[in-house]
């Protein structure tokens, strides 16, 4: 393997392990641990009258039963509200175990610890909880109505109300030649990683230290949260994300009740305790997203140029707001996509309901925003009788207007300023890829054969790489191998490969000599986490910085050894040499491994490398200290990257669908993606991210919904009834890309994790509307939904 790995579609370094069953996911570790299971509320809204454990206590293998009363100190306090915001005037969080009241089905009430999970569940079944029922608030309409309350001290169920504006949108719309209004709706879905959450905790009483493995997207933050909750010094707490079986947002939330409770019990019992979430628990006890109602008012001119846009969003935040109001903030800012909206006003209400908490799911509010904007663009085009691509083109921010300041505040609390992007070029590519201009001929052909087809498109801009920072550490070992670490976590993105590519390129070593550790507080303590498509931007640049420092140091030391000016040296395939000289030329080169030996003057020899590094090993300049002033031993360094603001990736999707005139079955015939996420570190992995995102977008558009009944029961809390797409539901995905480097960071990368999912509902609604001849305003849409819509129109 050569050092030219950056930008190459190399195979992943993590795969051999994962492919042979040698992965270490949460439930693969801690075989000797006690098992935890939870009694969860079967009711959406109730007061807890009593908890009776009489029948449970004599089950063989039971170790302990805990309820809220047992939680001492800060463990018994409400869980933290992670991202406070001035507009979040009525934030509420749950207790780790419910105290007095439950607010959604699935809320944990009691924790059972037993010798194995089967026994723990036996015990749970024998614990009797008596409830006083309260009327549940289910659905956004009921919440908005405000007659029934989720939290009795939150009037109107309004957790947050926020308005952002630029210019006077109301006046601009009044004055516009044309005005349209749209009512739109998106239902709930969820991240649904194939591996649920899970926690394993081990308390070492002799060392007074706690080690926690958790299936998280933010191990350093879990560590800080646990230290605070369990009242331990942070340096006595280690948190490690093992292999994580997908996250997609749900695992960014922390600490989950179980993340507090499992370590708390492990300390209390002095035993290892483990909990692995089962699928039903994940549906009712983790988090959902997406559910919104939207009202759009838009004013525009005869050419379809927007003059004013006024959007109101009612956002269902579920029972609690542990992650603040990030999702509706993103919806109302990222809604703008690649367009100049004229004057803009966005208002949202974040509302409580007696359902599972809402926290970010891949896309994090962007799919809903994209849906609102793209439905609006289609409506404007339809009204004026213009081609949908023409209306979009006319409203695009032009490349020469970059950087473009929207005059709003983004999710990171910083100005919403797009860094770069060429939207007209992206649209051109998409039109060519899908054959936009040739579609009418295809439609006619299909119609002649009795078939109904439609084409749609949707555009998005995605703020990626949000701060505040990430760090990286790089070390060259004395055998020439390189180890690196960053604090953020990995859930399948292939970070160990892309970060190795970054480090290898900077250091001039073969990529397979680089081993990267992520999400382990023992290896790197400062980090924020993996979300908002930020890992490649943040940790990529941080590791590049660290590697560059190591490189500089290596060249300095090698320069002394070779009696050469460091500026005349380069590192090729792990060997430092005079620029251009063939390596192996006598006196002209030195392996990086040897430089690592020289970088660490030793007193003791314990192996061959150490022997060469002892102070007594070779010729020494006695006029200098063994470690030069300002230097530290070893060939290693740390670097950080903190961006002034987010980068903005963009993309456009087009789909061709067929709708069955009789059965209303919806089939995707073509699905095309053009995306621009800046410089690509590994095109193969970026494409994989796009594929996965598109599959989730298709799922959210056509199949996935959370079906709550009026009592707040989730009726489809299994893979039997929640229709996650199989291979037969995901179309063949055609992709093309642009690379507009971000001017904001040295690598020029933007991040790609969420891109694929964002326009899913928007593009399919566009295509189905085109096939049917009327506007689709609610997603997801099933064949029976479409069938009912047709009937309703016929009977009008």
């Amino acid at each position: 393997m050569t050092t030219r790995a950056f930008g190459e579609p190399i195979q992943r370094l993590e795969d051999p392990r994962l492919l042979t069953g040698q992965g270490r996911f949460l439930d693969d570790i801690g075989h000797g641990a006690l098992a935890a299971a939870f009694v969860r509320s079967p009711h959406a809204h109730a007061r807890i009258v009593s908890i009776d454990v009489t029948d449970a206590v004599d089950v063989d293998g039971l170790v302990a039963i805990y309820t809220h009363e047992d939680l001492d100190g800060r463990a018994g306090e409400p869980l933290p509200l992670l991202i406070p915001h001035a507009a979040l005037t009525h934030g509420r969080t749950a207790y780790a175990l419910a105290k007095d009241e439950v607010n959604h089905v699935g809320e944990p009430i009691a924790m059972v610890v037993a010798t194995d999970r089967y026994v723990a569940e036996d015990v749970c079944a024998r614990i009797r909880v008596e409830y006083d029922f309260l009327p549940p608030v289910v659905g956004i309409e009921a919440a908005r109505d405000g007659e029934l309350l989720v939290h009795e001290d939150v009037p109107g169920n309004v957790a947050a109300h926020m308005v952002q504006s630029r210019g006077d949108a109301v006046a601009a719309i009044e004055a516009a030649p044309h005005v349209l209004e749209l009512d739109l709706a998106i239902e709930r879905s969820a991240s649904t990683p194939l591996e649920g959450k899970g926690v394993h905790a081990r308390w070492d009483a002799d060392d007074a230290s706690l080690r926690v493995y958790t299936s998280t997207q933010a191990s350093t933050s879990v560590r800080a949260a646990l230290a605070a909750r369990l009242e331990l010094p942070p340096d006595r707490v280690e948190v490690i994300a093992p292999d994580v079986g997908g996250g997609f947002g749900v695992k960014i939330v922390h600490p989950w009740p179980e993340e507090v409770l499992v370590p708390w019990a492990a300390i209390r019992l002095g035993r290892e305790v483990k909990w692995a979430e089962d699928r039903r628990e994940h549906f009712v006890g983790a988090a959902h997203e997406r559910g919104q109602l939207q009202h759009v008012r838009v004013g525009f001119d005869d050419d379809g140029r927007l003059l004013g846009l006024d959007v109101t969003v009612w956002h269902d935040n579920g029972a609690y707001t542990p992650y603040g109001i990030i999702v509706p903030i993103i919806t109302t800012t990222q809604l703008l996509g690649p367009y100049k909206p004229g004057a803009y006003r966005a208002e949202f209400f974040s509302l409580y309901t007696n359902t599972v908490t809402v926290t970010p799911y891949r896309g994090a509010g962007r799919p809903q925003g994209c849906f609102a904007m793209e439905r609006t663009m289609d409506a404007v085009a339809a009204y004026l009788g213009l081609d949908r691509t023409v209306v979009r083109e006319r409203n695009f921010i032009r490349p020469d207007e970059m950087p473009y300041d929207h005059g709003l505040i983004f999710q990171d609390g910083r100005p919403l300023i797009y860094d770069s992007g060429d939207y007209p070029a992206t649209l051109e590519k998409l039109k060519k890829l899908v054959g936009w201009d040739e579609f009418e001929a295809f439609r006619d052909e299909a119609r002649a054969a009795g078939r109904r087809v439609g084409i749609g498109l949707a555009c998005y801009v995605e703020g990626t790489g949000v701060g505040p920072y990430e760090g990286g550490w790089v070390k060259v070992e004395t055998d020439g191998s390189v180890v690196a670490a960053t604090g953020l976590t990995t859930q399948g993105q292939g970070h160990k490969t892309v970060f190795a590519q970054v480090v290898a390129a900077e250091l001039g070593v073969p990529v397979d000599r680089v081993t990267v550790t992520t999400g382990d507080t023992r290896r790197f303590g400062y980090a924020v986490g993996t979300f908002a498509s930020r890992a490649a931007v943040m940790s990529g640049n941080a590791l590049a910085t660290a590697a560059r420092k190591v490189r500089d140091k290596a060249l300095r030391i090698a320069g002394e050894a070779l009696e050469a000016d460091p500026r005349d040296l380069e590192i090729v395939d792990g060997v430092v040499r005079v620029v251009g000289s063939p390596s192996g030329a006598p006196g002209g080169s030195i392996p990086l491994a040897t430089v690592a030996v020289l970088a660490n003057p030793l007193r003791y020899a314990f192996d061959r490398e150490a022997e060469r590094a002892t102070q007594f090993g070779g010729p020494v300049d006695y006029s200098k200290p063994p470690v030069a002033e300002g230097e530290s031993p070893g060939l290693e360094d740390t670097g950080y990257y903190s961006p002034p603001r987010s980068t903005f990736a963009n993309g456009m999707h087009a789909a061709i669908v067929e709708t069955d005139p009789d059965t209303a079955e919806i089939t995707i015939l073509r699905y095309c993606v053009v995306h621009d996420c800046g410089t690509l570190i590994n095109p193969r992995l970026v494409e994989g991210q796009i594929h996965g995102g598109v599959a989730q977008g298709v799922g959210g558009a056509l199949y996935e919904r959370m079906v709550y009944d009026d009592a707040g029961q989730l009726l489809n809390a299994s893979f039997m009834d929640f229709l996650m797409p199989y291979s037969t539901e995901v179309p063949f995905i055609e992709t093309d890309h642009l690379e507009t480097p971000s001017p904001l960071n040295p690598l020029g990368v933007k991040g790609a994790g969420e891109a694929g999912v964002i326009p899913g509902s928007a593009v399919l609604a566009s295509a189905i509307s085109d096939a049917e001849g009327f506007a689709i305003t609610r997603m997801p849409i099933s064949p029976s939904d479409l069938f009912s819509l047709r009937l309703a129109r016929e009977s009008r």
């Binding site: 042979t20 069953g21 997908g246 199989y726 995901v730």
Partner: protein, 164 residues
Amino acid sequence: MSAAEELYEVSLVVNGVPRSATVPARRLLSDFLRHDLELTGTHVGCEHGVCGACTVLVDGRPIRSCLQFAVTVDGAEVTTVEGCTRPDGELGHVQQAFRECHGLQCGFCTPGFVTTITAYLEENPAPTADQAREAIAGNLCRCTGYQNIVASVLRAAELRAERA
């Protein structure tokens, strides 16, 4: 219910090695493999027979180990993802194909795909792209969008033929 559960000895040949453990009748095969034999390559994504992550081969046939009690397969030959390597421990044809085609991201669903595809190719050694898509239509993956898994099936068929 303080009486201890009745235990049964279950003996299997797993990946060519005779293994046994004493377990209650209700022990799922998935838990038996993962927790009693500590072969954690087999994953559990739903425990209700829908995701396919727990698929193992019992006497060559793919089954969902979360739907089967360990006692019911006493005496059987079981192949798990750990046993889908070549005899020398190198990646088997399906595993190699996944690596080449980027057929996995988080890798949690992957063991179930590897076992399923291994069995499928024995039945249908040269599938078309459409057949490849059908072959994996009983397994869920939340990460990859399946594009590269379909490619992996086709590549695995090639590798299998080359290595035969």
